[in-house]
């Protein structure tokens, strides 16, 4: 049995649940409305990115956890088949992450296409799609990791997922804010740069902000950031940070899945 077979089965199962269509529709609706009333310029794209940064981590992670719990019996049934665990894992993961990514890409991409933004602001729109897909993969992976770690203790697994989201989306920024307030008199640009790169949501947000030329608004801080992120070193470092964030939880999940006594 191949990973793709499992993947297609999962996909059908998801579509039958219909919620993934709803997820895509939410993006479609928001994007359509925002472009229609925001004029399709960079401002509309910024608002879309705001929604993306809020929704994708939450939905991907929560669903990553729930999905594992939901399909527990199915997983156990498949484990009884002559298939190795690695294949099964990638089948399960792909079965969730790929439809989620597609729903996002379709939901945001379609309005961008038929409203013509993809042609007028092509590079920004593409960056938005790529970042959204990367975040989907990343947070689905995190959700899987938490789900496997607390496979039998559903409440804890679910709770940890919620708390991790809260931490990365809100509390982490609070720490940055505190650092700025406490040590504001020191040249903080580089430490803050490093600090905010460690959080994937912040990293994605900053890449988007700089892409839309908000850097001018940000004075000296903006100049430091903008120089870093437009250079080859900055781009490769931020790309590797995101890759690491996608890779590490997945690697850990595969290990957990391989050793798990179901």
């Amino acid at each position: 049995m191949k990973a793709t077979t499992i993947l297609t089965y999962q996909w059908k199962d998801l579509l039958r649940g219909r919620w993934i269509i709803g997820y895509g529709m939410v993006f479609l609706l928001f994007t359509d409305v925002l472009i229609r009333f925001g004029g399709g310029g960079p401002r509309a794209l910024l608002s879309i990115s705001n929604i993306m940064l809020l929704f994708i981590p939450l939905v991907s992670m929560i669903y990553g956890v729930l999905f594992l719990y939901q399909s527990r019996e199915f997983t156990e049934l498949l484990l009884a088949q002559p298939t190795d665990r690695k294949t099964l894992f990638w089948g399960l993961f792909g079965g969730l992450a790929v439809p989620l990514s597609l729903a996002f890409a379709g939901g945001v991409g379609l309005p961008l296409l038929y409203m013509g933004v993809l042609f007028s602001n092509g590079s920004e729109a593409l960056m938005l799609l790529v970042l959204g897909i990367a975040l989907t993969l990343l947070f689905t992976g995190l959700g899987f990791m938490l789900g496997l770690r607390f496979f039998d203790d559903r409440i804890r697994g679910f709770g940890f997922a919620l708390i991790s989201w809260l931490f990365l989306a809100v509390l982490y920024d609070g720490i940055i804010m505190a650092v700025v307030f406490l040590l504001g008199d020191y040249p903080l640009e580089k430490p803050i740069l490093i600090l905010s790169m460690l959080n994937p949501i912040d990293l994605a947000r900053i890449i988007i902000l700089l892409k839309f030329d908000i850097s001018a608004l940000m004075g000296y801080t903006g100049a430091v950031f903008s120089r870093f992120f437009s250079g080859a070193v900055g781009i490769s470092i931020s790309a590797s940070v995101i890759m690491l964030w996608i890779g590490a939880p997945l690697w850990h999940s595969v290990n957990l899945f391989n050793k798990k006594d179901f």
Binding site: D173, M177, V180, G184, L209, A216, L217, M218, Y220, G222
Partner: protein, 414 residues
């Protein structure tokens, strides 16, 4: 009755010959009477006309010291070849039309200009093209002068080695209409001038300011466009100014302003459009100004209002999708905001009178935070900042209590 008519006719007969017999025409062309503009000016009597035929005239420091009308026919280029001034006007009633003035000298000591008007009045400069001059048109102690339909371009790269497009010094009653200035240091620079009327001009891609004036009272600026200048527009130390129907656009940069006001008093700023500037309007130490029916759209900050400004009224302006609508540096506010439209307003209008029922506070908490700690701007558009702002909006603790629009409009003002 007939006696009166005869009397009039007699007077007219007396005046007419005096007016028309003196004026002559001198043609300057490479194969005509004279091939040199300087020579022709020497030959001319006051009030003569010089017709310059198409051609390239390498002459510099040409002094026009008597009332003359100089008209170019076809493409006439007076080329300063990078030495000194090109044309110097030192007489009243000089008119110059349809010439190209090219390449004045460049200097760190002298303000070389394409056309220098010195201590003269009733000068008309019309349909001129000035290219690659240090200063474009330089008016020093001039009065009652008109600059109309001129195109002034340079390709300066550094502020220090570049002059201003139209430079006015100690002048009064100057009308500047439909000119276009590009690539100079400042597009328009006025110092110690009075009663200047600047209308229908375009100033863009200048290295420093699109328009820069100081100590220039009672001037009016209408229907001009200031676009993509290095530091936007900055006006200072002046009272009784009217700035109406202008466009301030695309002044994007860490030290760039749509319109910077410093010590501007008793002035009216009305019906202007501020679009896509990093800070649309910066108000410092300015008082008693009326800011009425302007549109602030898609700027970083709509209005940056420093606490040393007092008694300014902001009425019926549109604030549309600015990152920050108003920012300030203090909890105190002595200015009035009334009946503006704010796209970030979240209130309602139960009695349907077109005005929101709850007041709007345009200063976000985050704006205050970044004013004190600019590094915090890295958190722009994060969820945390959204939550903070919402909390502050319900119970204002840190934002200025009196900086509030009590009657925000529900609909955009047309």
């Amino acid at each position: 009755m007939w006696a009166k008519v005869k009397c009039c006719l007699f007077l007219v007969a007396l005046i007419l010959p005096g007016q028309y017999t003196i004026a002559r025409q001198i043609v300057v062309s490479q194969n005509g009477e004279t091939g040199s503009l300087r020579e022709a000016i020497r030959m001319a009597e006051p009030h003569d006309s010089l017709i310059i035929k198409e051609g390239h005239y390498p002459e510099h420091d040409v002094v026009i010291d008597k009332p003359l009308t100089i008209i170019g026919e076809g493409k006439v280029v007076i080329d300063g070849e990078g030495k000194g001034f090109v044309l110097i006007i030192r007489s009243d009633s000089v008119a110059i039309k349809n010439l190209e003035v090219h390449r004045s000298g460049r200097s760190f000591i002298e303000d070389y200009a394409g056309i220098l008007v010195e201590k003269s009045s009733d000068v008309v400069l019309e349909q001129l093209t000035l290219t690659d001059n240090f200063f474009g048109i330089y008016l020093s102690a001039a009065s009652d002068t008109q600059l109309t339909g001129n195109t002034i371009t340079a390709s300066g790269t550094r502020e220090t080695s570049s002059g201003n497009g139209i430079h006015l010094w100690y002048s009064k009653n100057i009308t500047i209409t439909n000119n276009r200035v590009e690539g100079h240091r400042d597009g328009f620079y006025f110092e110690f001038v009075e009663d200047v009327y600047l209308t229908g001009n375009l100033s863009k891609h200048n290295l420093r300011y699109g328009l820069h004036f100081m100590f220039s009272d009672r001037c009016a600026y209408e229907h001009n466009v200031f676009q993509s200048n290095g530091a936007g527009v900055a006006v200072m130390y002046t009272k009784n100014v009217e700035i109406k129907h202008n466009h301030f656009e695309d002044n994007w940069g860490s030290a760039s302003y749509g319109l910077l006001l410093k010590e501007i008093n008793n002035s009216r700023i009305e019906n202007n459009a501020f679009i896509n500037n990093s800070i649309a309007m910066y108000v410092e130490a300015s008082s008693r100004n009326r800011i009425y029916r302007n549109t602030f759209s898609q700027n970083g900050s709509g209005v940056k209002l420093m606490a040393n400004s007092t008694d300014n009224t902001f009425t019926e302006n549109n604030f549309l999708s600015n990152t920050f609508e108003v920012t300030t540096n203090s909890r105190q506010n002595f200015n009035e905001f009334n009946k503006n439209y704010w796209s970030q307003y979240e209130g309602y209008d139960l009695d349907r009178d077109g005005l929101g029922d709850i007041p709007h506070r345009p200063v976000r908490l985050f704006a205050l935070v970044t004013e004190r700690h600019p590094q915090a701007l890295i958190l722009l558009r994060s969820l945390l900042v959204g939550i903070m702002d919402a909390a502050e909006r319900f119970i204002p603790i840190m934002t200025p209590e009196t900086l509030v629009d009590l009657q925000p409009k529900m609909r955009q003002i047309q």
